[in-house]
């Protein structure tokens, strides 16, 4: 490392008035791998050129070589802070393709899991905004509740973070009593901690001055750039897939969609906080709605796609044949193209599936919200200071796995 290096300077760089700063791919641990090359005039940013692709894992190519039930672990790793939502979205896409009807209890259980994942995602994002403004305490307070959510996921599916939860047609096993106890315990203890988190930040003068008026975008430009999710709702447009194109029983629930006004970092923070409260409300309603339903149903009757119980496989003939057919890929999948979207932690996560009737998809494309709205980042930070650029980046909730797929 101590060799003399002759560095080639680019053309015209000695006479330039601005400095080039590389906000490089190795960020402090919280954000992810994307690079921004900033042109700066002192402390102000003149221009930014983002580079992505540092964690490109070729999901769309892998999906063409895997059977349908093996694509779920891939979808986990898109927005890995809220991976159950991605899993459910993929299962719903497949169910739309094969035109399957699900029992109500399965839909409500899915709603509980998706809203828990949404709470987990927003907790990470908001506490990281706090860390970027220097307030580490909120992060520590809030991660304890993320651990509680991880325990619930572990009870249902066995894994904490990248869950691979559920199957095409429902869940792999019924929710145990311990799982329901853990959900109730979470609902009892979480609101108090969330209020504590809000008192730390919402009217905190330093936080407000750091985040108000910073990183704003107007509603028209946001729509042109393809924003969805909390970032779009902070600009004032109430577009939420759960109300616009309801799926999995969301039409039976009573919740509001919070919107902001100016689209700056403070509005995004408040919108995410309010969404957490609405998710808690939805989970409470779902637990009520499950009570009168038959507690032994946890999957739909889809023998062609849903693996039968192991006891049946070892004793009954039809179950053995179905098991063999599903695993070897001999089931008849209808050919066609389908698009389904769910409201992920960052907005509209869409799955565009072209099936040719075979074992793997012909083409699977993920409409990833982070990838689409990260294009607006140079326009948002042009003219602001460097520290504002860092806070803006963390408020947009950019997850590297979702940008690069």
């Amino acid at each position: 490392m101590s060799q003399k290096q002759n560095i080639q300077l680019p053309e015209g760089s000695l006479g330039k008035q601005t400095t080039t700063l590389n906000l490089g791919p190795t960020h402090p641990a919280t954000h992810g791998v994307f690079q921004n090359i900033l042109e700066m005039d002192g402390e102000r940013i003149i221009d930014a050129v983002p580079t992505i692709g540092f964690i490109h894992r070729a999901f769309e190519k892998i999906a063409e070589h895997r059977p349908y039930y093996q694509i779920t672990p891939l979808t986990d790793r898109l927005n890995y802070c809220s991976s159950p939502i991605n899993n459910m979205g993929w299962h719903m896409t497949m169910e739309k393709l094969i035109k399957a009807e699900l029992p109500k209890r399965v839909e409500y259980l899915r709603v509980i899991i998706m809203e828990l994942a949404r709470i987990a995602d927003h907790l990470v994002c908001n506490s990281v905004i706090g860390v970027d403004t220097g307030a580490f305490t909120g992060f520590i307070y809030v991660f304890e509740f993320r651990e509680k959510i991880y325990e619930i996921f572990e009870e249902v599916c066995g894994s904490r973070l990248t869950t691979n939860i559920g199957r095409i047609g429902g869940f792999e096993r019924n929710f145990t009593d311990i799982a329901f106890q853990k959900i109730k315990h979470f609902l009892d203890t979480f609101p108090k901690a969330m209020k504590e988190f809000e008192t730390l930040f919402n009217r905190n003068r330093i936080f407000m001055e750091r985040t108000m008026g910073v990183g704003g975008i107007e509603a028209e430009r946001a729509l042109n750039y393809g924003f969805t999710g909390p970032n779009l709702r902070a600009t004032g447009i109430d577009y939420d897939i759960r109300t616009a194109h309801p799926y999995s029983g969301y039409q039976d629930f009573d919740f509001t969609v919070p919107v902001g006004t100016t689209g700056d970092v403070y509005d995004r923070f408040l919108v995410r906080n309010e969404e957490i409260w609405q998710s808690v409300r939805i989970i409470e309603q779902a637990l009520e709605k499950i009570k009168p339903l038959d507690p032994s149903i946890y999957h739909a009757d889809l023998p062609d796609f849903y693996l039968p119980e192991k006891e049946d496989v070892y004793t009954k003939m039809e179950a053995l044949i179905y098991h063999f057919k599903i695993v070897m890929g001999e089931t008849n999948v209808p050919a066609g193209e389908v698009y389904h979207s769910v409201e992920g932690g960052n907005g509209e996560l869409g799955f565009y599936l072209i099936s040719d009737g075979g074992r793997s998809p012909y083409r699977l494309h993920f409409r990833r919200p982070c990838f689409i709205y990260y294009q607006a980042y140079p326009e948002i930070i042009r003219g602001s200071m460097l520290s504002d650029a860092v806070v803006t980046m963390s408020s947009l909730n950019l997850i590297a796995g979702e940008i690069d797929a």
Partner: protein, 166 residues
């Protein structure tokens, strides 16, 4: 109330024979149009008062190696946020000269989506301000998501294909 029938009628009235293959798989109106007509269709869908498809949801490409002369398809998906309606249309182009007009003048969203389609499939978007690779390394000289290229890295020497059943 905007329905698929009204949209179909308006498109037929405006473009006549240039829009064809109108279908509704799983409730979403899908049609094909000519390669050079894509911007006109998008502009019409965006600017028209009644239709109002002002949001570009997705833009991607598909490779059909068996359609000689029309191997690469570019798929656009538009959305009307107020009415909650989605619409999809495709243009086909030849793989030896895959030129398609760029949509960056109409929707800012299409900037990186077109770069991704170029990176993966090699579709050349005419008029794009910065058409370079976005996900893969810059030195890559082929377009990996085309069907003829394999998934795994062919330069590996430590994996035994007999054991892995490839």
């Amino acid at each position: 109330m905007l329905t698929n029938e009204i949209i179909k009628q308006r498109l037929k009235d405006k473009f006549g024979e240039l829009v064809y293959n109108m279908e509704e798989p799983y409730g979403m109106l899908t049609f094909d149009t000519d390669r050079d007509n894509n911007l006109k269709v998008m502009n019409f869908l965006k600017e028209d008062e009644e239709l109002g498809f002002t949001y570009l949801n997705d833009l991607t490409a598909v490779h059909y190696p068996n359609n000689i002369g029309k191997e690469l398809a570019v798929v656009y998906m538009l959305q009307n946020i107020r009415a909650g309606i989605r619409i999809r249309f495709k243009v086909y182009t030849d793989i030896s000269k895959p030129d398609v007009f760029t949509a960056t003048g109409i929707f800012e969203t299409s900037n990186w989506l077109e770069r991704e389609a170029y990176d993966f499939f090699g579709v050349n978007f005419v008029g794009h301000p910065n058409l370079i690779r976005i996900m893969n390394v810059d030195e890559m000289d082929y377009h990996p998501l085309r069907k003829e290229y394999p998934l795994e890295d062919q330069t590996r020497i430590d994996k035994d294909d007999d054991m892995f059943g490839r």
